[in-house]
Symmetry: C2
Amino acid sequence: MTLVADTVADFTEGGLIARIQERLPPAPAWMVVGIGDDAAVVEPARNRLEVLSVDALVEGVHFDRAFTPPAAVGHRALAVNLSDLAAMGAAPRLALLSLALPAALPIADFDQMISGLTALAARHRVHVAGGNLTRSPGPLMIDVTVVGTVKRRQALTRGGARPGDELWVTGTIGAAAAGLQMLKAGKGATTEGTETNGGHGQNRLPCPPSSSVSSVVAPCVHRYLYPEPRVRIGSLLGRNRAATACMDLSDGLADGVHQIAEASGVGAIIDAGALPVESAAREWFDRRGTDAVVAAATCGDDYELLFSVRPRDGRRLAAALRQGDAPLTRVGQCTVDRAVILRRDSGDHPLPRGYAHFR
Amino acid sequence: MTLVADTVADFTEGGLIARIQERLPPAPAWMVVGIGDDAAVVEPARNRLEVLSVDALVEGVHFDRAFTPPAAVGHRALAVNLSDLAAMGAAPRLALLSLALPAALPIADFDQMISGLTALAARHRVHVAGGNLTRSPGPLMIDVTVVGTVKRRQALTRGGARPGDELWVTGTIGAAAAGLQMLKAGKGATTEGTETNGGHGQNRLPCPPSSSVSSVVAPCVHRYLYPEPRVRIGSLLGRNRAATACMDLSDGLADGVHQIAEASGVGAIIDAGALPVESAAREWFDRRGTDAVVAAATCGDDYELLFSVRPRDGRRLAAALRQGDAPLTRVGQCTVDRAVILRRDSGDHPLPRGYAHFR
């Protein structure tokens, strides 16, 4: 007798939708028509602007199923979108899922992927309002659209920084990039095709790391697999107008500095010594002879926020820090001169741009 | 000297976004933050509910690039979503695009795909508010999220039909299914993996059809490639409350009747002789010995609307017909008995369900 695991191909579209629905809390009162009709109908939030974002995770580009737990795929697919809303100062409200599923995807993996997503959605009170399911003849793709709200004049853009504004970053950087390298090393096989913004599986490492190694590996791998979008601090920065510009570090801090500088028409000087490189990541990069500062600044997947603050708004920033859930670090300053500089002990250098998607 | 056509891999993400932006009209006044930031920010419509839908077109599942002009891929990707909004009685407002692009996609195809989408968007005053671009290691995927608006109590669902209500359909059915068969026949090669809801290329038929054949082929192929979402009539039916339930025929009329019957807790009798089968499609099916009524009723891609009407609301329906841009045909009636019946000269038969996505 052969036991064959059930795959998504053993289910109807309705059967798969039912498995998503049973993982959702009851619909909020503002949902007028939910999953199961041609479209979702919602009552808009009063006196708020609406903020919309869409982002896709594609197998073989953003994650490798060989070392990515399905729950991490689901978590990341929503997290990257919530991070975009956080960068606008918006509070998330609802999400739409569009899934392209290979026929051979085990139903257990489907369930775990959905659970990873709905668990994060529940923590941020994001309602899954609808979506779409289709077969994929190739990679697994998970496309998430999120809608959030923000009060007028509290939306944060990339374009509001002025010369003299300080540049700040939430949390630490570099851990996700180190985590990806660790997962690739653990997998053994090369995964050259996988971009740094992927998702990977700590609990599937071929060899469980020794305890001395695991103090370096565990935090980095976890940060890579389950990034925490900075929803609370983003919302606080918008609400008390502490920040003049903001964006998320999906493509790395260096990319973020360049984007804010270009959108705002300023330059910037980043102080290499001030960058909050995650200590476990620094240790990992140091051991391999990699420049930890450059690696942490140019690699993506951190999903921290980079924002600019007028020096006179220090009290507002202190309030956001008190009420928020993330450490904040001043890393540099905006300048009249349009150059974007990394200041090191060895002198000033142009800040590299980091990853470009299509070249 | 070898000339190699430029592909999307020769461009940066920013370069591709710029090619999309140059195909868009100026942003409407309600766009607060447009393409280029972490997310789009919009002013909601006043005193309206919001209607949201997402749908994906996947190469090899919904279309075959061998005989699908890129413009048709773009057109269809938006059309299927606008059709969902039309089925809710909603007026479309904005769209978000998420594209997963094979590196070898010629830039000319990318441009035509975007032009096909933006041309339809312009006709329906849908603003492309943002999106996402990524590489695909496999098929081309185009995922569109649309947001529309509808007045409270004017949203049409699938669940409002009552026994005795008449069932009506817009336009004609069967042309898209026949068009797909024609394209497959023209291509020669089998495309068994392609679902009926695909998109295909009339202008790439290997042999130009003779003029007598083309009067059958041209209307069907065109309907398959460039379906016209019933935005105007859907909106009218919602506004004057002529319809008690409504859905679009993306998966065929038979599926639509079953869905409305299940959601409304009724049965239905469909009069086979009344079905508005497109004459060119009927001719095509007849020639091949296919039952034209069953083929037209069970195949998808028509993107017409099926809706129910209280017999006493005939005047409202007449008003919608006068102001609308589509013929309307009465095809049956809702019943207390929960069976869903196709009534033919030969007697009553259960109405087949049509296509199921994952089995």
